[in-house]
């Protein structure tokens, strides 16, 4: 299963209400008639972590194989976009 927290865009400490809000927002964005695949993944994700018991079970038993998106997300979660450094930008413009 794709990381349900990533699918719903919530963090590990999100409350039931926050997760439900994220779920409703996601299915409004991707209703089944528009994007069936995304809708299914959102629903599966919500079912996996919708309440405290399920979240605990997910943490205990989930060992689903990773996807590239899982990996990319895992190594990028603490990043904040940065402006370019002037030196690098000019070097890029000047070099041929």
């Amino acid at each position: 299963m794709i990381d349900p927290y990533r699918v719903l865009g919530v963090d590990l400490s999100a409350s039931d209400e926050a997760i439900r809000a994220a779920y409703l927002s996601a299915i409004r964005e991707s209703p089944p008639e528009r994007d069936r695949e995304r809708f299914e993944s959102v629903r599966t994700a919500y079912e996996a972590i919708s309440d405290h018991r399920r979240r605990l079970a997910h943490a205990l038993f989930d060992h689903s194989p990773p996807t590239i998106d899982d990996l990319l997300s895992a190594v990028s979660s603490d990043l904040a976009p940065q402006p370019p450094t002037e030196r690098r930008l000019l070097r890029l413009l000047g070099a041929k």
Binding site: A57, H63, S77, P83, P84, R88, L93, G94
Partner: protein, 837 residues
């Protein structure tokens, strides 16, 4: 450049085809021998300065310059290009000259291309200006000084540089201000979109995409634009685009995405993984994260932790990299690792350890409860809850002690106890569940069913009425109440309390919904006494139930249930059982058989003892194919071999091409021991049916025929899929006729466990257990002892009569082999809904 191996400048042309020098020069040029072409055209131009020869010379220089540039000899290429310009009168700035200048870092020279010379000042090439915009931005001021003062490259340069500085400070307001200083026709115009997009890549990719879409590809700032184009791609696509960028651009993209320097090599490795197009293996990801663990966020550690069950040997390395794991968590990882390896026993012990450890920690009882439930599902499974022992139910009970709020587990435990006929435990579980979920319809329904199972009819009705208060239109509960009153009435009749029975039947009539149920109620009134009015009621009920086979069924069954003599009551009720029953009657009786619980199989046999004859006559009726298959499946499930044979044979006569009837008829005749009892002719017929079923894609019949054609237990279960058709045919042909040889062959093929499994299936506990104990845990010895017993048993059955006689005549099976244990209902679409309740 070495001239040692310079090839000869001119090559001798064949004497047979003399050509003019002009043609020769053109041919050499077209052949791509540029240096030679240059010499030839120079010689021609010494004779006369023709324009076409000048063009040829220019083409020779251009070709030679490109040759050199392609070899990386850019300085030499520039010299040749300058010769082209000076000797042939061509423009210096055209073609690749500017690119080569920039690549050699000759920015001054590049900008000099724009230096006004005489009248050319008026016609400065706007395109060339645009191409030089990036150079002008980074070139020293002195280089710019050579440009005309009014050159846009000079006039707008300060604004462009200030905009770049604002972008690098992420000062959007100043950026907007500076970009306003770059007019729409300026050579720097693309910067107006690129710089803003660059700042939006990480925050608003959609807006950045819109901005970068307005920048033409291959513009003066293409390298910067390419970075933005890659950065706005969604998901993993930007990773793939990252790999298409050069080193400097990659670093800029990773920089604006926010990746610190020490994480960039990891990102490039992830990008390489993405490029393969297949999902990475868990171990590869674990390796990658552990190898590059420095400075990784907690999410990376979490992913690595999630994948540890695939790489349990890296546990120590994980703890070195990301910190220690608790004892309970380690046990969980090892349990999951064992699950991944399908080492269920090892997994069980690790899970139990984890549950024990979690239970001791005050804040983690829920984890322990979840683990115990997971373990139950792992060992017992979700579908077949029959295969479990007391320890498994103990896990569920313990999980409820740790987490009593899980309604689903309460319900599961109640059902398990009830299915296991442990009504005392079921009642205790119901009480526990009701104490916590007093008004939960699902719990109340289980309570009703448990009360009914324990013949606690009054309690069942009370609970059902509580449930109806919560869910007034619950038809299942209404039916259950009616049935509870009927059951209670039967109990009263059995205890010779006709008045109390009458009251219960009055109450039942208030709830019973169908005419058939009400007729049964009336029938019970008739059975509650033996006087004339009761007999009248009994016969009225019989009439309402059709007066024939179905009515007789109900009279017999209900008389058994109330403890009367079935034969006597049948005489009193006097249904008409003469003649051939119509198909609808037979189907109704089958429906009634299907509705009968398995705990009433003894009653069923007693009823059928009386009804077998008319039912057998009914086999000749005009049933549809699906109806007949359904009847056969019902009889097969209830182990009614004689009736099954009648209906299957009639079906086979009517539809001889249908493999399912071949199977049913053979099974009805020989039972599970068909392998030993079938004649050669029957075996061939069965093989033909198998082939036909394979052609039809009727997998269920294929499996059943294969099961029947092997020794008992030989093809049963999922293993039958391991044999392909050819293997199957050969194995049957090659099987020895001597039972001992068959068993020994089986042992050589499947090992002693296969023999034990097969024997376990066909032998009763009373025979199997003593041998198991005698073997003292030695499986091989047990298998050998079982073979001896099986051979002896078959010999006692006069096996010679089961084996095909040499003449191929039909054998006469004396004792009927035990039919197979009831299996799941047949998956045949044509039966769907036929006997649905």
């Amino acid at each position: 450049m070495s001239r040692k191996h310079r090839p000869p400048l001119s090559r001798p042309t064949p004497a047979a085809t003399p050509v003019s020098p002009e043609t020769h020069a053109r041919q050499v040029l077209e052949a791509g021998h540029y240096r030679e072409a240059v010499e030839l055209y120079k010689n021609l131009l010494k004779q006369e300065r023709r324009s076409e020869w000048l063009d040829g010379l220019a083409a020779g220089y251009a070709g030679r310059a490109r040759e050199l540039a392609n070899k990386g000899m850019l300085q030499e290429a520039l010299v040749v290009w300058r010769n082209r310009s000076s000797l042939c009168g061509k423009l210096l700035a055209e073609g690749p000259y500017l690119d080569w200048l920039l690549r050699t870092g000759a920015h001054d020279a590049a900008l000099r291309l724009l230096t006004p010379i005489g009248d050319a000042a008026a016609t400065v090439d706007a395109d060339l200006e645009t191409r030089l915009a990036a150079v002008a931005l980074t070139a020293p001021d002195s280089a710019l000084a050579q440009l005309a003062a009014e050159s846009p490259l000079r006039r707008h340069r300060a604004a462009a540089q200030a905009a770049i500085a604002a972008c690098c400070r992420a000062d959007l307001a100043d950026l907007d201000e500076q970009l306003r200083g770059i007019p729409f026709r300026s050579p720097y115009r693309d910067l107006r979109f690129i710089l803003k997009a660059l700042l939006l890549v990480g925050n608003d990719a959609a807006q950045a995409t819109g901005l970068i879409a307005r920048v033409t590809v291959d513009g003066p700032f293409e390298r910067l634009a390419a970075v933005v184009r890659a950065g706005v791609l969604p998901g993993r696509r930007w990773l793939l685009a990252l790999l298409d960028l050069d080193e400097e651009s990659r670093h800029l993209l990773l920089e604006i995405k926010g990746y610190p320097e020490n994480r960039r090599p990891l990102l490039l490795e992830v990008a390489e993984l993405a490029r393969t197009g297949v999902a990475p293996t868990p171990t590869r990801v674990v390796d990658l994260l552990l190898h590059r663990n420095r400075g990784l966020p907690v999410t990376a550690a979490r992913l690595c932790r999630r994948l540890l069950p695939y790489a349990e040997k890296r546990l120590a390395e994980y703890q070195n990299a990301f910190g220690p794991l608790g004892e309970a968590e380690t046990a969980c990882i090892l349990a999951l690792a064992a699950e991944v390896r399908r080492a269920i026993e090892s997994s069980e012990s690790h899970w139990l350890r984890a549950a024990r450890l979690f239970s001791t920690v005050e804040e983690a009882p829920l984890q322990a409860a979840l683990i115990l439930r997971h373990l139950f599902d792992l060992i017992v499974g979700h579908e077949d809850a029959a295969d479990y022992d007391d320890e498994c139910t103990t896990w569920l009970k313990r999980s409820l002690e740790l987490d009593p709020d899980d309604r689903a587990t309460h319900l599961k435990l109640i059902r398990l106890h009830r299915q296991g006929q442990d009504l005392k435990a079921a009642r205790a579980s119901v009480e526990t569940a009701l104490a916590r979920f007093a008004n939960d319809p699902a719990v109340l329904l289980e309570a009703v069913e448990t009360a009914l199972a324990g013949n606690a009819f009054k309690k069942a009705v009370t609970l059902a009425k509580r449930l109806l208060d919560l869910d007034p239109i619950n038809s299942k509960v209404r039916a259950l109440i009616g049935q509870a009153h009927l059951s209670h009435a039967r109990k009263q009749i059995r205890l010779h309390r006709p008045e109390a029975a009458g009251k219960e039947l009055d109450l039942a009539d208030e709830w019973l919904a169908t005419a058939n149920e009400r007729s049964v109620s009336k029938l019970l009134r008739g059975l509650s006494a033996t006087d004339a009015p009761a007999t009248v009621r009994l016969r009225e009920a019989v009439d309402e139930l059709g007066g024939k086979l179905l009515a007789a069924w109900h009279v017999l069954l209900e008389s058994i249930r109330v403890g009367s003599q079935p034969a006597g009551e049948l005489r009193r009720a006097a249904p008409n059982l003469s003649g051939m029953p119509v198909p609808r009657e037979v189907l109704n009786v089958m429906h009634a058989i299907n509705a009968l619980g398995k705990n009433e199989s003894k009653a069923l046999r007693t009823v059928l003892d009386t009804l077998r004859a008319p039912l057998k006559r009914g086999a000749a009726g005009d049933f549809s194919e699906s109806e007949r298959i359904s009847i056969c499946e019902t009889l097969l499930l209830r182990e009614e071999q004689g009736l099954l044979q009648a209906y299957a044979n009639a079906g086979l006569q009517r539809w001889p091409e249908r493999p399912v009837f071949v199977y049913l008829a053979t099974f009805a005749k020989h039972g599970k021991g068909a392998f030993f009892a079938m004649s050669e002719r029957e075996r061939q017929t069965l093989e033909a049916a198998l082939k036909k079923a394979l052609e039809d894609g009727d997998q269920r019949t294929v499996l059943r025929i294969r099961d029947l054609m092997g020794p008992p237990g030989f093809f049963s279960g999922e293993d039958s899929d391991d044999f392909d058709d050819d293997d199957f045919g050969d194995s049957v042909d090659d099987l020895p006729a001597n039972p001992r040889d068959v068993f020994e062959l089986l042992m050589s093929m499947g090992g002693h466990n296969e023999v034990i499994r097969m024997a376990r299936e066909v032998l009763p506990d009373s025979k199997f257990r003593p041998l198991e104990r005698a073997a003292g845990g030695n499986r091989k010895k047990l298998a050998e002892m079982l073979i001896e017993l099986l051979v002896e048993s078959l010999a006692n059955l006069d096996l010679s009569s089961f084996l095909a006689p040499p003449s191929g005549g039909s054998p006469v099976p004396k004792p009927k082999p035990h039919p197979p244990a009831p299996k799941q209902a047949v998956q045949d679409d044509r039966q769907k809904g036929l006997f649905d309740d």
